[in-house]
Symmetry: C2
Subunit: 554 residues, 2 copies
Amino acid sequence: MSERLIYLPLGGAGEIGMNCYVYGYGPADAERLIVVDLGVTFPDMDGTPGVDLIFPDIAWLEERRDRIDGIFITHAHEDHVGAIGHLWQRLRAPIYARAFTAHIARGKMSEHGLDETTVQTANTWPDMIAAGPFRVGFLPISHSIPESSGLVIETPAGRVMHSGDFKLDMNPVVGEAFDPDLWAQAAAPGVRALVCDSTNVFSTHPGRSESTLGDDIAALVANAKGMVVATTFASNVARLKTLADAAHAAGRSVCLMGRAMHRMIDASVATGVLTDFPPVVSSDDAGGIPRDNLMLIVTGSQGERRAASAQLARGKYRGMELKEGDLFLFSSKIIPGNERGVIRIMNQLSEKGVDIADDASGNFHVSGHANRPDLERLQNIVNPQVVVPMHGEHRHLRQHVKLSQGLGRASVLAINGTMVDLAGNTPRVVDYVDTGRLYLDGKVQVGALDGIVRDRIRMALNGHVIVTIILDEKDEPLGDPWCDLMGLPETGVSNASLVEVLEADLGQYLGRAGDKILADDGKLEEALRRVARNTALAEIGKKPEVSVVVSRMV
Amino acid sequence: MSERLIYLPLGGAGEIGMNCYVYGYGPADAERLIVVDLGVTFPDMDGTPGVDLIFPDIAWLEERRDRIDGIFITHAHEDHVGAIGHLWQRLRAPIYARAFTAHIARGKMSEHGLDETTVQTANTWPDMIAAGPFRVGFLPISHSIPESSGLVIETPAGRVMHSGDFKLDMNPVVGEAFDPDLWAQAAAPGVRALVCDSTNVFSTHPGRSESTLGDDIAALVANAKGMVVATTFASNVARLKTLADAAHAAGRSVCLMGRAMHRMIDASVATGVLTDFPPVVSSDDAGGIPRDNLMLIVTGSQGERRAASAQLARGKYRGMELKEGDLFLFSSKIIPGNERGVIRIMNQLSEKGVDIADDASGNFHVSGHANRPDLERLQNIVNPQVVVPMHGEHRHLRQHVKLSQGLGRASVLAINGTMVDLAGNTPRVVDYVDTGRLYLDGKVQVGALDGIVRDRIRMALNGHVIVTIILDEKDEPLGDPWCDLMGLPETGVSNASLVEVLEADLGQYLGRAGDKILADDGKLEEALRRVARNTALAEIGKKPEVSVVVSRMV
């Protein structure tokens, strides 16, 4: 058989976040393609200082743009839809999503001056969208955002089911419950491969329903004395409703704070996802309400410095200020890597005398992802020939492969860039594609390997010395070289000025440098850099980054 | 009464780590002083890029050096003893510690060329060391390092008990069990104040004994097929013994890897703390042992890039290499903020096909600190008039104050720099002292507020532009200004070279700049910086750091 059915993750496989998966069908290297999700991931100071957003490198897709028949977005989380405004022009295929997701996606297109009508609203399975050799249906599944969907991907080589991010919630508060019968029906014709969320494979207990939180949150809010502030992901509309219902039941007015919070509620109302959210007051009106009759629901559950929660922890935000005896509820978990930011806020709140409730008790947050028993259950319902773990770090994918093999199924570990052919009886790795990351840095997209961010990290670790030297027409130094420092101490072990010690050593070197070096910018820069680094090492115990600026009078 | 009994934390109160507490007795502002602990804390890329270690700012103590009668070290963890080599010369008081701690402390003094005999070995209470108006006894208490001690501090104004870091372990595997009778005896004369560890105040279950781990670790190792590698803190000698015993029972030779591992075992053997550690093999010999007969115990449980565990995860280390089917045990918890580093190692191990066991199950690690019920129990044993929470972030101290008040005791929240007088009937805040942090940067100590690290962070976030301009004797520009970039993209939104756009705008500005600006270095630099930043903002969407180098031909 010469037709291939390929699966190629470009993001999300070998990491959590930045989801982007490609499916292809057709003759080798001439497959027609569809893209599932086009997400972002977030930078951090450790590896990507100053970067604003991170996208998958879609160079491989862009080169094959004429073969792309559609972009399908499973749900409206940033790590699944966040890159469409930034990257769509390089792909230019129609985008399909369910109403709520499409609403969010259109906003992103519009922000980038792109045509909103590119985003088409999809009905749910058994409706199918024809895209080249594919027919794709949106199959509702519960998650932590409205209208999350798996995909039924029908191909001439068989049916693939792509889980999207999901949990098995029979009572998700907002939106559709998980419907095992629906998934069984969609799988009934036989499923070649289940491509499946792996993020919670290490959690051994069955996942808990969103609805289990209502009573505990209501009791917490009912017993609170001062103002109550709650934070969670703005996109967790069910949680926002649970929080708002708890406030309402306790006689408290609800005020939403943070742009994302309003955007998500607006999208929910506009698309009919949310019909019975309690009335909310504006932040202007909130100031006039007694604090024990008020609950703020705010952005910033991950400690983001500019979000509402961080601003409230530091001081005033939109006229509101926290006081001794108020309660702050983190109805959220800390995503690994964000601990320092969240703990900073907790301590700032503690300094104000604010009491904190968080998910340590397990009563105020549940995950949106399927745990190990849930992954097993979905496999049993779908009964695929092959399980392809996606969305997870390497350790998650590997554990998910082991889990699947333990259940007697074929499974394949495919990280970003691994092209798997699912057409034959057993999945086969047929190619490795160069993948990587693209950084949004201010307004500019830069490659992760361009060295720009590497240079910034080096300056942060080592400081920066600028050496300036002027040479005359005969390549003779005009005066001494001089140094400027950034991020370096003023004095070293000799207790003399570091600038002066550097300038002295550089001047000495120049005095004995030969004509060949003085005449050659490259050699001169290299030599001065070496002198400056060695002098700094002796004086301060580290080698700084050195820029040498050679000026010649001609 | 005019004599004061002061408590003044300079580090450790309002943070976890960097412990340094001062006690004083005497007339106001003329108290004789003792110092308890002189620890470090560790830098991170978020706030202290490039920094090697962080110390408490001891300027207050240094100014009163002639009033210091002794430095008492409770135990040998870096956050209690790590700064003595770096800071002792500024204080020059005798150092007292129990044998194991003293052994480690002498090594640190010696590394810094300081006199080892400054460190005196203390016996345990009821022996007391006279230090000015104080008499200080070392009271054994269990923790996660040998010979940890609380202090009995006898003063003319009453007895203070300083808990040090502790847990209540009746069977700690190595070293003394917690002895409630001993603590009750020491407290029998009446205790004015208990100054107490707060780090685990949010943990609601009673702490578990080190000895509860033995069976699970032994079973894990007995069932392992390939090589086993285990990591934990090198200073947790009891854990090292539990791990080595498990290896021994499974017929595996033990090889210790990492300098800290050897240093701790050597200190334990030299001071008689450890008498029955299984025989170990060198890393040279380990290579000749079949991998299923071998267990490595290695440093780097927190993901430190240069430690043995990180090197093994990346590739070979001292001739050893991990393979498919090997087992890696994290017998440790992740300290908040270290998640990314540890997870990186876990994924690298996963790529090699190595199985991972960690403390998610709770079977392979226990904390070294007292949980809430243990804190209550110690209060009941010591029965102090006042509880002063120490060693914890603000939220921990605050919770510990609430806990103590809930038990009917007076308590005071004193963060770093808060001077409390414990002499009267109720504790009284009498002063606030400027405190802060000192950074070790290579070989140089720099102040946290010197701006050096701030400049590095700015370069990391924003990149760095160097503008060079040469002026002649008449303040006329000699040619155009030119720019060098570090950590910035080559092109911006205009698609022209960023350097060229910057140079053009700077040249234009210079062409119309007035004589007053051209004649004034400060004004000229400021103006060129502003032009460069605004041009960059338009081109790339961010304002870089700008250094302007003005050269004048004179």
